[in-house]
Symmetry: C2
Subunit: 570 residues, 2 copies
Amino acid sequence: MAAADRGPEPTTPAASGLVERHRETLDRALAALTDRDYWSPYPEIPKAYGESAAADGRAAFDALLGRPFELDQPGADGETGEEVSPYGPVLGVRYPHADPEALVAAARAAQPGWAAAGPLTRAAVCLEVLARINARSHEFAQAVMHTTGQAYGMAFQAGGTHAQDRGLEAVAYAYAEQTRLPRRAGWTKPQGRRDPLVMEKTFTAVPRGVALLVGCNTFPTWNGYPGLFASLATGNPVVVKPHPRAVLPLALTVRIAREVLAEAGFDPNVVTLAAEQPGEGLAKVLALHPEVRIIDYTGSSAFGDWLEAHATQAEVYTEKAGVNTAVIDSTDDYAGLLNNLAFSLSLYSGQMCTTPQNLLIPRGGIATDQGDKSYDEVVADLAAAVGALLGDDARAAAILGAVVNPGVAERIGQALEGGYGELALAPRPVAVPDFPDALVRTPALVKADAAKPDDEATFRSECFGPVSFAIAVDSTADAVELLRSTTREQGAMTAAAWTTSPEVEAALVDACLDAGVSLSLNLTGGVYANQTAAFSDLHGTGANPAANSAYCDAAFVAGRFRTVEVRRHA
Amino acid sequence: MAAADRGPEPTTPAASGLVERHRETLDRALAALTDRDYWSPYPEIPKAYGESAAADGRAAFDALLGRPFELDQPGADGETGEEVSPYGPVLGVRYPHADPEALVAAARAAQPGWAAAGPLTRAAVCLEVLARINARSHEFAQAVMHTTGQAYGMAFQAGGTHAQDRGLEAVAYAYAEQTRLPRRAGWTKPQGRRDPLVMEKTFTAVPRGVALLVGCNTFPTWNGYPGLFASLATGNPVVVKPHPRAVLPLALTVRIAREVLAEAGFDPNVVTLAAEQPGEGLAKVLALHPEVRIIDYTGSSAFGDWLEAHATQAEVYTEKAGVNTAVIDSTDDYAGLLNNLAFSLSLYSGQMCTTPQNLLIPRGGIATDQGDKSYDEVVADLAAAVGALLGDDARAAAILGAVVNPGVAERIGQALEGGYGELALAPRPVAVPDFPDALVRTPALVKADAAKPDDEATFRSECFGPVSFAIAVDSTADAVELLRSTTREQGAMTAAAWTTSPEVEAALVDACLDAGVSLSLNLTGGVYANQTAAFSDLHGTGANPAANSAYCDAAFVAGRFRTVEVRRHA
């Protein structure tokens, strides 16, 4: 046994077809992780799925409504389901409710077979799950739209193909990580004149244990798939606990996963759904279960911090809340800046963890290709850009989506009443023809002054939803320091800046490296601070209080499995 | 910007010489991580270091005794140092004691410069530190011998060159992990008939923050270097808190690291020593400091579990206690089995976290190349093999070392009084000519019966030191289940087994994969269950209660840094 064994990995008869089908996609994904160039196997254009696909997806979605959701899994002890579309309709889908002990026990029982499958087979099964989800992207778009309030086009991309990208990225990272050690290696140690010591060693990835996915309301798939597929691909069974307002996209995901698992000869309880009764607090119960060894969570900082402090038996991956800062120092494309930022503030009504909240503008104004602009001019021009972008109701609705929950509606109301400060741009109602009950409002832009302690107390807190602050600062240097301190203290998922000065750029980069936030510089085209692309951009850093991990890097998968070695004389 | 940038990494003038000097060693280490074949740049044979090296090392060690240890670091507020050699002599080295707040503040202040150095420069600085430690291996051997009680030859290898191997391994893993993303990459996304979106992206590894190393008594360097060098190589400053009985090896390490850092143009406070006053409980104070973001710990389960539960602001890497099991089913080399196991039980008086404790032997006996052997015969033959191995006092002393602390001495006394059960082999005193005060005893072998609840209660607990249990079990199948359950419940750093049956072997491998412990099979030569080789064997798995991490895998380094991205239009 001389050389390390990295040849083809054995698979099982039932799964070998899947390996054959998905091997090339996996290989391309592995290359993409390293290159970081644009790549996706899942077309993001709705038309690519065929002429009838949209209507078929709509019909499939409609067929789910107002009835029990079929999911043959253990421990069922009742029904639950309270989803109401942010666009108005009551979904009426009734999910099986299960005893959490039964779900954990079923997951634990399913684990050995899944663990024994090995990294390649698991990757192939995951890719088949993603492929089937992809084929149903229009149905998922409906499900995401009517649970999150994302407009259809965004639900199709962010909730559909881009979420699939992030899932595939996690599978590829998991496969790469589990195959860094050879399956088998020889070891020969010289012993002077005596015979050498010769050993044969095998290395096997073993799963950590039952994983828990705690889904969120706004991005059940995009924020859920990285953890779900990272845990699955590393051999862990996953109990999926969706947000009560956004069950359907993850319930569909679980059902598809269970189908593929069963067809490939595995126990379908490798993936189960833990839909909860209103007020049940199921996430807490599951998170503290001693058999739960991995937790992925997206949501409020309060519960994320609680998980990190209390679920110490588990590896906990959190994405929580933050306050995202944008620094506006100078630009050679003023119109591009305004249009780009206006879109970032408007997309999904600012209900993204990545939406810029605090826009820092020197009170002495900024230099632009259209001449110097005072603070007031920048604010007015930005308000006008948002107004222009959202001037047409149909277009506005396609960008804004609907208000996801009463908390956001309340903040819009507070903004309208001047509760956050003077409005540079007041929210206005947008009518959505098909959904008269949908609550859709253009964003609020609030004027603030960094020198005023009351203002600072307001803008230093997260104000989730379509409320941003145009904050006058004494200088760009002060803006950079405010970016740094806000990120260090409140956390941030994104930072953005516009400057033509190399010195300012260097100071911004320093501040972002120090505070641990990724920076989008001088975006003036079709890339936005609040969007990241799988296989290239990292989502979050794990280096500031907004998240303890990132989508997707090696650290996101490396702790989900361990390696057991067996050695013997060769 | 088409392709990902993986060219040579820039370095600083002061450090470029170090990069040149150590680049080849780093490259060979990186290859070794992947191949897992035998490799080391640090000769393990004492003679390789020159004729006068041993005497020079002894003289250097003697010159340290009975005086203040020079270490110019901030926050000094007194002296401490209570070390007494397990071989008898009082060391009398007085270390500066420092205010922990001052150490953390100094580390925090040193961080930005070290973070900015980048992975390659940091690796080179670490390799220079290791090279200087290696050149002083004889001095370190004295320091390790007289703090841990390891015999000189073992102190030279396990405390010297093998510890250096583990440190280098951690540096190589850290470098590999930090360079998996390109420093710079292009991203081009087609936009149909419109111009593509073209972005340029940079990825920078940023440190997590101040690291704390909590050293142990028995292996201050071997168990300390992986965490120390993993944290350093990923850009984190490290506060080193040695065990009060084993300060000197880590104090020397810190002094050398500070010298190299200063010479290379870095703030030496990247590494500081936190020697503690008796009863100060400094590890707890430092572990809960909000600026401490990484903790490496080796020691008792009680404190390791406390760290995992309470130091939730930090990434915590622990190696704790366990109960290691060996299964004796059958063999085609009975003499080899006995000699191999006798050595494992004797080495360093069983004071290794890897020493087999519970030897499971079917009560109906085992098949061997020397005919069937009854349980009693196996026990008697093993006792005889230990007796023969340690029959000569000089040879025995060179294998056993000295008893490290009063807890171990107490357990030897308890064994002699029959407190653990009937003795198959009673400890006997071994005289060490140069050190008449050294407490050296041959191991105790205690007979036990798995069917007796009292016996089981005894052998299911860790009995750290030279006390092993020869446990009669009803069958090999029972032995495999006992291995599994003991490992799952008590944890284990190692498992060993001897069998000629493929079925038994398969059951053993299954049990070890399930319980999460690495297995040494049929060792009958010069490789022992309680030893692992860097670059090839993993030490621990992190998959059972004895440890939450392993030396050394990607998971051991991946969480010690985060990645910050900066992107802009190309």
